[in-house]
Symmetry: C2
Subunit: 352 residues, 2 copies
DNA sequence: ATAATTTTGACCAGCGCTGTCATCGTTGCT
DNA sequence: AGCAACGATGACAGCGCTGGTCAAAATTAT
């Protein structure tokens, strides 16, 4: 039942030390020795004792995930992806919910790292966009991977997973344009989240490319919440010239806008098309279901973890790791958007 | 920065072993020695090293939380509560998302326990209601605490935290009755969740106590989802005699019902009162906000963890631990319910 | 063939804590 | 007072592994 490093050593006909070398990815182990040991490990289903490793080594075998996000669905998805990668590599995941706006947040993170002796950290917004956190972590020489909004890998910065909100927003806007809409409004998310800015930029770029000018009245500041969507839509519908389509910065805002429109007796999508962003379960629970952009959070998370493990691996050549995976959320057309003209024609719907 | 058991021993003027005894709640430590050690522990903010403990002891210091719940908010809240208790007692939390309906679920749980050497497990619905899981765990002599729906502690069964859905549902129904409603409908959740049954029972009991008979047409089977609420409300509103109030088994269903009613141009709460259950963020994002019952998930979770720790504590007298904490979700009146008669009078609203 | 180099193993200490058992101090009793 | 009996405390080994050092063995280069 319990297989120790000793058993593996015997099975492979090598010393304990050599098995340890293999486990820790140390250099100077010959190929065939390595294979022998690996075979023994697999045969016996050896799993190193994390406690012993943590205790003996200066290094640790757990990574942390700090979050402060009102969007529970997002967190759960992230966790799932992180957990998958951790399991695969024999790491543990330490989750740490906290308040990003607390004044002592940097110290809190530092304490978490030292106390739990973390090998690394996964940072999602808003933490991934807080320079002082990154600095503190770099000072402590702790590896971390940030998941951030961005389209082009920045040279020199290697510990990132990028989500190309720009392109995705461009695509959604394009979808709206193709349906014939020209008066399209944009409901912003929180200013301090770069994702909101990126999405807005993608939106503007699409309009410009279509030869349209951006109407500033159609750009409504707000934040990532249902209420903000309700308010935003209210403002838009009070305008002398109403837009025929609304692109909301995320599904919650879109749901709020949808609700608001309903209250004003505006038929969706006949009189107003609405698109969201994220493909949260939310977007399927509205009626009609929201056209949105699918963001594969679990996959993104596990990629981020993989990247982190490459760093934390003892003999990794850190300078070499340059890959910055880029994810482009995918357009998902559902019933909340339809061609301009009021009547529903054609079938642009997709089953959820 | 790093405080070891040694530092505490020195500070308290006792041996390492004695500190260990205090930490492990062993008997045969004199009161004043105990206090001295505790003082030192607090002064130095000593936190035992989980890895070392795991390694040295036959016991382990991590507990598991298995979940399979579509309700992300619920999980996040539970996690928060569990994490709090774990931190307090120096335990680690291992989270394990899985599929409750998978055929190999029992083996999966068993493997999780042995591989991660869990000290105990926290079970929430649906796992807490699966007899074969409880049996397997008992066979393995692993402690676990179940969070289940129920009003009265059952003698003999001690490892439970109860949520008194019955009483809470009774209260909600009562609130509706006090508003003058007599034609009240009930939208059920999933049959296999005992919470749904308990809530229905509470609903019926309240009606009966008020001298009303239960109209079977007003009891609509369904499941815990927005869609189910939409459908349920549709059915109810198609009835020759419409109910004047609807009690939905959870907030999602209620939100669905609300949405559905809106589409049929039924004014809420003037023409129809709607109440939910759970006080999920959901319930505040509808308009009007939902009257509901607040279920303090974080608190429930941390209580469950506390109970578990009492068990896993080495010198606990397991037979003695009989407490079955009972939580009664609290009525939270918001704008989705109003007195029968259509006009809003009085102010029964509460700020969220 | 010999030297230079790489790979491997033997050995030890030690991570921070717990389990065992011996020792010490206290109480109760005759 | 004196001795047993017991409760409280401490000394010590060891959990499974890593990290270091050094020497032996195996390989490669010359």
């Amino acid at each position: 039942m319990k297989v120790t490093i000793n058993d593996v050593a015997k099975q492979a006909g090598v010393s304990i030390k050599t098995v340890s070398r293999v486990m820790n990815n140390e250099p100077s182990v010959r190929k065939d020795t390595f294979d022998k040991v690996m075979a023994a490990i697999n045969e016996l289903h050896y799993q190193p004792n994390a406690a012993a490793r943590n205790l003996a080594s200066t290094r640790s075998y757990s990574i942390g995930y700090i979050y402060d996000n009102p969007n529970a669905y997002y967190i759960i998805d992230m966790q799932k992806g992180l957990l998958d990668s951790c399991k695969k590599h024999g790491y543990e995941l330490l989750i740490h919910p906290t308040n990003a706006k607390s004044p002592g947040i940097v110290d809190e993170v530092k304490e978490l790292v030292t106390k739990s002796r973390l090998a690394g950290l996964i940072l999602t917004p808003p933490f991934s966009e807080m320079p002082h956190i990154a600095e503190a972590l770099e000072d402590m020489k702790v590896d971390f991977v940030r998941i951030v909004s961005g389209s082009t890998p920045s040279p020199g910065v290697h510990n990132c997973v990028l989500i190309d909100d720009f392109t995705a927003a461009f695509k959604i806007t394009n979808h709206l344009l193709e349906l014939g809409h020209t008066d399209i409004a944009f409901l912003c998310g929180d200013e301090e989240h770069s994702s909101s800015g990126e999405r807005l930029a993608g939106f503007k770029a699409a309009l410009t490319k279509h030869g349209l000018t951006v109407n500033p009245k159609y750009i409504v500041p707000g934040h990532y919440s249902f209420e903000s969507g309700v308010e935003g839509a209210k403002k838009l519908m009070a305008l002398p010239k109403r837009p025929s389509a609304v692109f909301a910065c995320n599904d919650e805002i879109a749901a709020g806008a949808l609700f608001s429109a309903r209250l004003m007796n505006i038929r969706i999508p006949d009189e107003l098309s609405i698109a969201g962003f994220e493909n949260s379960p939310f977007s399927r629970q509205t009626w009609p279901p929201l056209t949105t952009a699918h963001q594969p959070n679990s996959t993104i998370a596990s990629q981020a973890a993989e990247l982190l493990f490459k760093h934390t691996r003892p003999n990794a050549n850190k300078a070499q790791i340059q890959a910055q995976p880029v994810f482009i959320p995918e357009l998902l057309v559902r019933e909340s958007t339809s061609p301009l003209g009021g009547e529903q024609r054609g079938d642009q719907s997709a089953k959820p």
